[in-house]
C-alpha cells in the first residue's frame, strides 16, 4: 500500500495532473454554481475534453476535480439564492439560505467550504483503507459472482430510489440495459436491434445518452420555469465577511466528524448516494441536538448547514469505492465516470489496483489535493466566482445547449447523433415530469455490456444457468437482489395499511 501511495503521490503531483485538479475544481465550481446544472450534467459536458487528453489518470483526475467543484458550486447557489442545482444540496439550503438572509452569507459559505473539505478529506482517508481491502476480496469472485453482484448493484439503485419509486427506477434500469443491447456488440459480432439504421451499428453513444438524460432536461426546465434560475441581486455585498467564531467552530466540529463517517458509509452503498446522505445527516443532527439548538434548525443553524455539507462530500468520496474496486457505479455521476474510463480503455474493478496502480492511487491522492485546492483557492475567490450567478439566462441557456450539442457532435461527428440527442433529451424531460429517476437508466446502459458478458461467461462455463444454484455466493447475492426490490414496496404498503 505504501508503494502504491507513493506512486499515486508521484503521479498526482505531476505538473499536468496538478493543472487538471486546479482546472477541474475551478471549472466545476463555476458551472456547478449555475442553478439547474448538477454534477452529472457538468461531467457529461466535460467528458469530450477529458477523453481528448488521452491519459486515463489525467482524465479521471480532471473529472473528479470537476465533480468536487460542482458539488461545492451547487452548495454556493443553494446558500446565496436558495436555488439548489441538485437534490444533494437541497438540505444545504435549509439553513444556508436563512443565514444569507440574516446577512451572514460569507459565514455560511465558509462553514460550507470547511465542512465540505473535512467531509471530503475524512472520506478520502476511509477510501484509502476500504478500497484495497474490498478489491482484494473481489479478486476471489468469478464471472457468476460478478454477474450476481451487478444485479445486486442495479437492484440497490432501484431500492434506494425512494418511496413509491422502486419499480419506476427498476423500469428505467431495464430500459438502460435494453438500450445497451442495440448495435454490434463485441461478444457476438452481429448487429442487434439496429432496425437497419447504419448509424446504430456501433450502438448508442454513451456521451450522447448522458447529455440527453441530464444536461437537456435540466436546461429545458430552466427555459420552462425561469424562476428556477434564481436571482443573485443584492447578495454580492454580503459575501466578503468569511469569518467564523471559535464557538461556531467548536459547535460544528463533532457534527462534521460524525456526518463524514456516516456520509461515507452511505456513499459506499450503490444507489444511496449524496442526496440520502445529506438528508439523513441533517435529520440525525436535528434529532440529537439539544432542544434550544433543535429549534434553530431551519432558521440558520450552523450545525444544520455543516451536517449535509460534510455528509454529501463524504458520500461522493464513498461512491468511488464500488467504482474503483468492483467496477460498479453506485450513482449516476460515477456511472458517467465509468463510461469515460471505458472509452479510455480502462476497466475499473479489482484488477485495476494491480494492473494500473498509477490510475488507482493517483485518483485517491487527487481527492486529497482536490479538497485542499477547493478550500484554499475557492474560499478567497468566492466573491468573484459568485459573479457567475449574475450571467443572464438569455445567454446562459443557449450556451449550455450549444455545449451539450457540441459534446455529442465531437464524440461521434455526425448529425444523426445530434438528432438522437435532442429526441432522447425531450423523452428524458417528459420522464422527469413523471418523476422517473434517470440515473438508473444510464447506470443500466453502462453496466449492460458487462452484465451480459459475465452472464454469458458464467453460462458457458457451467453449460447453462446452473451456476445460479451451484455457486452459493451467486445464489445468496441474487436472493439479496430480489429482497432489495420486493422489500421496500411491501414495507411501504404495510405502513400505509397501519
Amino acid at each position: 500500500m505504501i508503494e502504491g501511495l507513493l506512486l499515486g503521490i508521484h503521479t498526482a503531483l505531476s505538473l499536468k495532473n496538478m493543472l487538471m485538479i486546479f482546472g477541474g475544481c475551478i471549472v466545476g465550481t463555476f458551472i456547478g454554481m449555475l442553478p439547474g446544472l448538477g454534477p452529472m450534467s457538468i461531467i457529461a459536458i466535460m467528458i469530450p475534453v477529458a477523453i481528448s487528453l488521452g491519459d486515463p489518470a489525467a482524465a479521471l483526475i480532471l473529472l473528479a476535480g470537476v465533480y468536487y467543484g460542482a458539488i461545492f458550486g451547487g452548495s454556493t447557489s443553494s446558500i446565496l439564492i436558495n436555488a439548489p442545482g441538485v437534490a444533494s444540496t437541497v438540505a444545504t439550503s435549509f439553513d444556508g439560505y436563512p443565514l444569507t438572509r440574516q446577512g451572514k452569507a460569507g459565514k455560511a459559505l465558509t462553514i460550507a467550504a470547511i465542512s465540505s473539505f473535512a467531509g471530503g478529506t475524512i472520506g478520502a482517508i476511509l477510501l484509502l483503507f476500504f478500497a484495497p481491502t474490498l478489491a482484494s476480496v473481489a479478486l476471489l469472485f468469478h464471472s457468476s459472482e460478478y454477474f450476481a453482484l451487478m444485479v445486486v448493484g442495479l437492484s440497490a439503485i432501484a431500492a434506494f430510489a425512494g418511496s413509491g419509486q422502486v419499480f419506476k427506477a427498476l423500469l428505467m434500469t431495464i430500459a438502460g440495459l435494453v438500450l445497451a443491447t442495440i448495435g454490434e456488440g463485441a461478444q457476438f459480432n452481429m448487429p442487434r436491434f439496429t432496425m437497419g439504421i447504419m448509424d446504430l451499428q456501433s450502438g448508442i453513444g454513451f456521451i450522447t445518452l448522458a447529455m440527453a438524460m441530464f444536461a437537456i432536461p435540466e436546461t429545458l426546465f430552466l427555459v420552462l420555469d425561469p424562476a428556477r434560475s434564481g436571482k443573485a441581486s443584492d447578495k454580492q455585498s454580503e459575501i466578503s465577511n468569511l469569518r467564523i467564531t471559535r464557538e461556531e467552530a467548536k459547535k460544528i466540529a463533532p457534527v462534521v466528524g460524525r456526518q463524514s463517517i456516516q456520509g461515507f458509509l452511505i456513499g459506499v452503498m450503490p444507489g444511496a448516494g449524496a442526496t440520502i446522505a445529506s438528508f439523513l445527516g441533517y435529520a440525525v443532527e436535528r434529532n440529537i441536538a439539544q432542544k434550544d439548538e433543535r429549534e434553530e434548525f431551519g432558521k440558520g443553524s450552523v450545525k444544520g448547514l455543516a451536517a449535509p455539507e460534510s455528509a454529501n462530500n463524504a458520500a461522493c468520496t464513498g461512491s468511488f469505492v464500488p467504482l474503483l474496486t468492483l467496477g460498479i457505479p453506485g450513482s449516476g455521476t460515477t456511472a458517467i465516470l465509468l463510461g469515460a474510463l471505458i472509452a479510455l480503455n480502462v476497466s475499473p474493478g479489482p484488477r485495476l489496483m494491480q494492473d494500473q496502480p498509477d490510475i488507482f492511487w493517483s485518483v485517491i491522492i487527487s481527492m486529497y489535493i482536490g479538497n485542499v485546492v477547493l478550500l484554499i483557492l475557492n474560499l478567497p475567490l468566492i466573491p468573484y466566482i459568485a459573479k457567475v450567478l449574475t450571467v443572464p439566462r438569455t445567454f446562459l441557456i443557449p450556451f449550455i445547449l450549444f455545449f451539450t450539442l457540441m459534446g455529442a457532435y465531437i464524440g461521434q461527428n455526425n448529425a444523426t447523433e445530434l438528432l438522437f440527442l435532442v429526441g432522447m433529451g425531450v423523452a428524458a424531460t417528459i420522464l422527469r415530469f413523471a418523476s422517473y429517476p434517470l440515473a438508473p437508466l444510464l447506470i443500466g446502459f453502462i453496466l449492460g455490456p458487462m452484465l451480459e458478458d459475465n452472464f454469458s461467461r458464467a453460462t458457458q462455463l457451467h453449460d447453462g444457468i446452473g451456476f445460479i444454484w451451484e455457486r452459493p455466493m451467486t445464489a445468496v447475492l441474487l436472493l439479496a437482489a430480489i429482497i432489495l426490490i420486493v422489500l421496500p414496496p411491501l414495507r411501504s404498503r404495510a405502513k400505509q395499511k397501519s
Binding site: K168, L170, R192, L224, L405, L418, V422, A434, S456
Partner: protein, 161 residues
C-alpha cells in the same frame, strides 16, 4: 390515468416489440455453429423483455403508490404556467442546428443558434448579443479545430472546405 402510468404503458409496448424481435426474429439468422452455444445473442434480450414487461405492469397497475421525489419541483399539472412555446422553439432550434451544421458551416450555424436562442429568451441588447455570439462561435471553432484537432467545416458548403 397519471402521466407516469401512461409512460409505463408506452414502455411496456416498446418492450413487447423488443421481446417479439428477440423471441421470433433473431434466432433464425444465427449460424448453425453458434446454435450449439448455451447462450445466444437473443438470450439476454429475452430475459430483459420479460422482466421489463413485468416491471412496467407493476407501475401501470400502481401497485406501488407513487410519491414525488425530494427536490423534484417540476409539476406537470402546472404546465400552463410554464413557457412551453419557448422550450418547443428551442428544441426545433437544436434540430435545425444539427441539420445545418454541414450545409451552413460551423461558424454561421453556431452564431445563428446562439444569437437566435438569446433573442428567443428575451435578450434585446443586440450590441452585446451579436459580439458574444460571434466571438464564441469563432473561439470555440478555433479551440476544437486547432487545439483539440477535430475538423469541423467552418464555412457554408457552397464555399467548399
Amino acid at each position: 390515468m397519471a402521466l407516469d402510468r401512461w409512460i409505463a404503458l408506452i414502455i411496456a409496448l416498446v418492450f413487447l416489440i423488443y421481446g417479439h424481435t428477440a423471441f421470433f426474429g433473431m434466432d433464425d439468422l444465427l449460424p448453425p455453429i453458434l446454435k450449439r452455444n448455451p447462450i445466444w445473442p437473443s438470450t439476454f434480450p429475452k430475459i430483459l423483455s420479460v422482466v421489463g414487461v413485468l416491471a412496467a405492469i407493476v407501475v401501470i397497475l400502481n401497485v406501488e403508490k407513487s410519491a414525488k421525489q425530494v427536490g423534484d419541483d417540476m409539476d406537470i399539472s402546472k404546465w400552463r404556467d410554464y413557457r412551453l412555446s419557448d422550450a418547443v422553439v428551442l428544441i426545433v432550434g437544436m434540430m435545425a442546428y444539427a441539420l445545418s451544421l454541414r450545409s451552413l458551416g460551423f461558424l454561421a450555424a453556431t452564431f445563428l443558434f446562439l444569437a437566435l436562442g438569446g433573442l428567443l429568451l428575451g435578450e434585446r441588447r443586440f450590441w452585446l448579443l451579436v459580439p458574444v455570439a460571434s466571438v464564441a462561435s469563432y473561439g470555440i471553432w478555433y479551440l476544437v479545430d486547432s487545439i483539440l484537432g477535430i475538423y469541423m467545416t467552418p464555412y457554408p458548403a457552397f464555399l467548399g472546405r
